[in-house]
Amino acid sequence: MPTLAGDVQAVLADEKVHFQYQEVAAVIADNRYIAADALDLVEVEYEPLPVIVDPHRSMDADAPILREDVVKKDKVGQGPRKHANHIFTWAVGDKEGTDRALASADVVVKEDMLYPRVHPSPLETCGCVASFDKIKGNLTVYITSQAPHIVRTVVSILSGVPESKIRIISPDIGGGFGNKVGVYPSYVTAIVASIVLGRPIKWIEDRMEHLSTTAWARDYHMTGELAADKDGKIKALKVKVLADHGAFNSHAQPTKWPAGLFSVCTGSYQVPVAHVNVDGVYTNKAPGGVAYRCSFRVAEAVYLIERMMDILSQKLGIDKAEIRSRNFIQAEQFPYKTSLGWELDSGDYPTALKKVLDAVDYAGLRKEQAEKRAQGELMGIGLVTFTEIVGAEPSKACDVLGVGMFESAEIRVHPTGSVMARMGTISTGQAHETTYAQIIATELGLPSEEITIEEGDTDTAPYGLGTYGSRSTPVGGAATAVAARKVRAKAKKIAAHLLEVSEDDLDWEIDRFKVKGVPGQEKTMKEIAWAAYNNVPEGMEMGLEAVDYYDPPNFTYPYGVYLSVVDIDKFTGEVKVRRFYALDDCGTRINPMIIEGQIHGGLTEGFAVAMGQEMPFDEEGNLLGNTFMDYFIPSFVETPQWETDFTVTPSPHHPLGAKGVAESPHVGSIPCFTSAVVDAFAHLGVTHMDLPHTAQKVWKKIHELGLDKRD
């Protein structure tokens, strides 16, 4: 089957299995117990072949060829390829200028860092029920998908069934976090089985299958070089990345962006010149490379630049808050064009940083740390001042399979003033029903309890690209606001007609149009809704509804300042998070309770990645740990208490000024934890420690430094 990234992927392995747990056969049975019995009857003889587990070996001259099926292709999605196991090279920026700046700078810091392979692992695994009606030729698929409309398009292309005869229903789904964007082999198997058998076929993963075969994230092997003058002013940034994509190139990125939006890695800082080079390679591991609660490869980008800022701060002996301040893009410089081509929409970083440093008494913390260090104790302070890029968006920049990344909303106001609204996005727990209803209620002055929001059914919702990359508020929310304004514009014409005045004579107030200067002369939105179905101006069509396909002019750039304090037990290596203070600026805040909830959740997922999540493999490519016994999901007990704060710097191009928020806390907190853990050892010359910061790994560092000697 074709992948979203332009490669082909086996539905069931034919001749060659490319990774452990790859699907080789399917059993259809009346229930799960019979299916499990039947599975025992399937015998597969595997003949061992040489494997590549370490991506650094993928392009060796004597490396085994992993994909004979594409060996002659000069590109699999993006090209050209320079080795049979090479997928793409993607480079951006001014290479010569960057090299020149690096050669002439006062100081250059360089660090290799691995962002390990992690899995989004929503609590509900993937699954579907496919039901093909042989008589009508209709296919209905209930599926755990973050992008049901794209699934419909893919299924139509694969099956030859017209899109109009395919109905994809993504009902309430149990979390996604990027894992439920793609189309998996087992969905295809279930659909084919239903077409062949003419019966509904249900496929539900177990957790082991989920962790072993569905889309994981990261696996970026990064080298950063940051050049600066002696005062810490940045001169250049150079980044090289080796990306392990597994056995098939099936990462979920906008088509033209094989490394996603990674080039936003200049962060919140003025970086005069930069260059990024990313090579993607095949290995004998499950395919993936999705955005785990982040926009495409933005977690990796933010991690890189925030780590490099810390390392530069250590090299120059300039405090990490101070060095960030010296390099911030200033409020008056927005919109700011970065050296790698992005136009940051708005921000006020110095204000946000000052607010956080004051709130936690940064000077006091540093004093306490100095005292602790004198006593031989390990205390670390982490700081990040990150900028995200979200809302994968402008169709001129982004598409999936050629479909531009717009978003849609359709609003119908009924005669009695209640509203049915449908969107192309799909909530996986972000409370779209509340946020969208609130937008409509505010724009139209109709009560939110009479507004019904529906998503996820491709038969009824307008086409949309789905929910991931913090798209819902930046793009879907914008479509909702614009559609509501179209409704209001028509309502205004009806009001003018009813009141026998010109539109210019009307003022809008909360839920009604009023004639200027004539108290009592007014029509409420409910009255207008009724009139829309019986008394409209001549020449106007009846009804009160609007659709908007919103194609935004730019991405949005939410940002945050996070500060963490950790205490490390020098005999066990256990990292205790004493404090975590998160200030987010997501522009206009539509529903503060929902925003807070998203931040708590994102921080907790960031904590999971920073402190324990990884997918380790042995040298034969066996995944060492694919259940919750091994894969870290923090519980009530480990999870820190979160303190949240905010500033508000609206996006100038979003109809409501909103920027999106759910991903910032994940993206921002991970380097903040690393910053804190490394900071605990900074006085001993340690500049970087790779994720995750498990007690075992931290203890190894302590032991290596000889800090665990008992008197």
Binding site: R32, L123, G429, G597, H600, G601, F628, T639
Partner: protein, 155 residues
């Protein structure tokens, strides 16, 4: 495969069902008795989304056999509301934004119900320890703790 007829009280209603002796309680509750509020998330009894109340104890229904419930009393999330009125815990989860995707919520509710039976006014620490067998990927737990406290005050 050996089948056995079992009966137990499910949300105060007597039910009788024929099961294979190897069938898990979670599967029988969901697939034979149609109570799909009880979810399945991990198969290794770590995540707790399958938590039900069996004879006054919180149990992970993906890790016990249906036959073990024979003659017992089972309560699932569907049994919390009475006469169309949500249980104070359910109301508190809504009010305090204690759920997002909702997949862990049935397990959280039914475990919180038992926790509050055992300890009607738990401290934050007691709530966190008491619910530590139930995982959530969305909320960061803070608002669940808050909701359980709110419910405890109202019960």
């Amino acid at each position: 495969m050996i089948k056995k007829k079992i009966s137990f009280k499910l949300n105060e209603q007597e039910v009788e069902v024929e099961v294979e002796t190897r069938e898990l309680l979670a599967h029988v509750i969901r697939e034979q008795l149609g109570k799909t509020g009880t979810h399945i998330g991990c198969d290794t009894s770590h995540c707790g989304v399958c938590t039900v109340d069996l004879n006054g104890n919180s149990v992970k229904s993906c890790t016990i056999l249906a036959v073990q419930a024979d003659g017992g009393e089972v309560m699932t999330v569907e049994g919390l509301a009475t006469n169309g009125e949500l249980h104070p815990l359910q109301q508190a989860f809504i009010q305090d934004h204690g759920l997002q995707c909702g997949f862990c919520t049935p397990g959280m509710l039914i475990r919180s119900y038992r926790l509050l039976q055992e300890n009607p006014s738990p401290t934050e620490e007691e709530i966190r320890v008491g619910l530590s067998g139930n995982l959530c990927r969305c909320t960061g737990y803070q608002n669940i703790v808050k909701a359980v406290k709110t419910a405890a005050e109202k019960m």
